[in-house]
């Protein structure tokens, strides 16, 4: 039940609302819990609320780390 789905903020609307794109499907999401999210940011959405801005740098870092682990295996 604690599913969180990443989406991209497309536009901000009145109040705390924003339009968020989930791989082609757009939904209205509340930014009340994550007011720092800006247009273009990726956010994690749970039950209609953005609960965190996703850190692109950290995501890339994780990917890089995975890549390094794979490479180190190939060298062995």
């Amino acid at each position: 039940m604690c599913l969180g789905i990443p989406g991209k903020v497309i536009s901000k609307r009145e109040g705390d609302l924003a339009e968020v794109d989930f791989g082609g499907v757009r939904r209205e999401v509340s930014l009340m819990l994550c007011p720092e999210a800006e247009v273009g940011d990726y956010v994690l959405v749970h039950v209609g609320f953005a609960i965190q801005r996703l850190e692109e740098e950290e995501a890339l870092e994780t990917l890089k780390l995975f890549e390094e682990i794979a490479k180190s295996l190939e060298r062995e």
Partner: protein
């Protein structure tokens, strides 16, 4: 490994698995606390890929599963009152109460509506001013800030027909109860990623400090889970017990302070009953005094009546990691996802449902 990422993901997965095998010294029992992890682990086949010596056990992190029968019955009783609309998340619809379920009550004419967001319950109350809308709010810390936001929104819109039946629970006190209970030996925890988005790292500190058990806040992709397991194995190997964050792209050390602020503004911790774990101090959330008008149990005078679990059902033991679903005499026979006896078979994130669907064995 199943999945559509092709060879790159497989390559990384086999590297992580190999490193786990290389560092593993003694057998380890690792608990994945969260139901979303349980499903991800089964779906990706991780259990069958791990080196011998690592056993994954599922914990109490499925909100629907840990809601005791008495609370389900109380919510079902509400649907018999005149003018009441009960709004709740879809996961609850098929959970059996003592004599009925929401889906059965709806077939009998009860007005029960499935919502995807707490704000839908607020809109419903605004559109149906002559009815009383009760939001049966089940969830952990991931969901509580959104539930708090709905309460504040109902207040802002001046809705006097919006009520909350709170069945919210907190994860750290449940982990503490499991560790203090000592019924199951746990060498490390895969900690729930999305609960931690809200609460951050600090509330888990006691796991390492008081119990000497490592924990890793882990994401939900198969590679996240393997890295989380690797981090636990490495800590054990080096004799460390710390709380670490693997799911760094979403979880900050401090969590989401804004979300916690809203939770604290609206709710106060109370003792709460958990299926399987009994009453755990300060492990639930109740509306604060200033919002007491919205408390459904008071507005509708709904006493809590203790109800036994369904006869023969081992859900309570499964939730503590003491028993695995195949240990239950009802599993796969009288109890299946089509005809569930206990909530662990109903919820898509229930351990029994995951075992049944993906064919797990002890």
């Amino acid at each position: 490994m199943k999945g559509n990422k092709g060879t790159r993901e497989e390559r990384v997965a086999s590297a992580l698995l190999r490193e786990i095998g290389r560092l593993l010294r003694d057998p380890l029992q690792i608990m994945e606390v969260c139901g979303t992890h349980t499903v991800a682990i089964f779906r990706s086949g991780i259990r069958s890929l791990l080196p011998e010596g690592i056993e994954l056990i599922s914990g109490p992190g499925c909100p629907v599963c840990v809601t005791p029968t008495g609370e389900i019955d109380r919510a079902i009783a509400l649907t018999e009152r005149d003018g009441v609309i009960l709004a709740t998340f879809g996961d609850l619809m098929r959970v059996p109460g003592t004599d009925s379920s929401f889906i059965q009550r709806r077939a009998e004419g009860g007005d029960i509506r499935v919502i995807l967001s707490p704000l839908e319950a607020v809109r419903m109350a605004e559109e149906e001013r002559k009815r009383k809308v009760v939001f049966f709010a089940v969830g952990f810390e991931t969901t509580s800030p959104a539930i708090a936001a709905s309460v504040l929104e109902a207040e802002r819109r001046g809705l006097d027909n919006f009520y909350l039946l709170s069945s919210q629970r907190l994860i750290p006190p449940a982990i503490e109860a499991l560790l203090s209970g000592g019924k199951v030996a746990i060498d490390g925890f895969l900690l729930p990623g999305h609960v931690s988005v809200i609460i951050g790292k600090a509330p888990y500190g006691f796991i390492a400090e008081r119990f000497g058990v490592p924990g890793v806040i882990t994401g939900f992709e198969p590679l996240d889970i393997l890295e989380g397991i690797l981090m636990l194995v490495r800590q054990r190997r080096e004799g460390r017990a710390e709380i670490q964050i693997q799911y760094r792209r979403a979880v900050k050390e401090e969590g989401n302070p804004r979300a916690r602020e809203l939770m604290e503004q609206v709710f106060t911790p109370v003792d709460s009953r958990w299926r399987g774990l009994g009453t755990i101090p300060e492990s639930g959330l109740s509306l604060r005094e200033e919002f007491s008008r919205m408390k459904a149990e008071e507005a509708f005078d709904l006493p809590y009546i203790e109800r036994p679990d369904p006869p023969g059902c081992l859900c309570g033991e499964v939730l503590q990691g003491v028993k695995a679903p195949p240990d239950c005499p009802l599993f796969g026979g009288r109890c299946t996802p089509q005809s569930p006896v206990g909530p662990c078979m109903v919820s898509s994130e229930g351990t029994c449902a995951a075992y049944y669907k993906y064919g797990g064995s002890r």
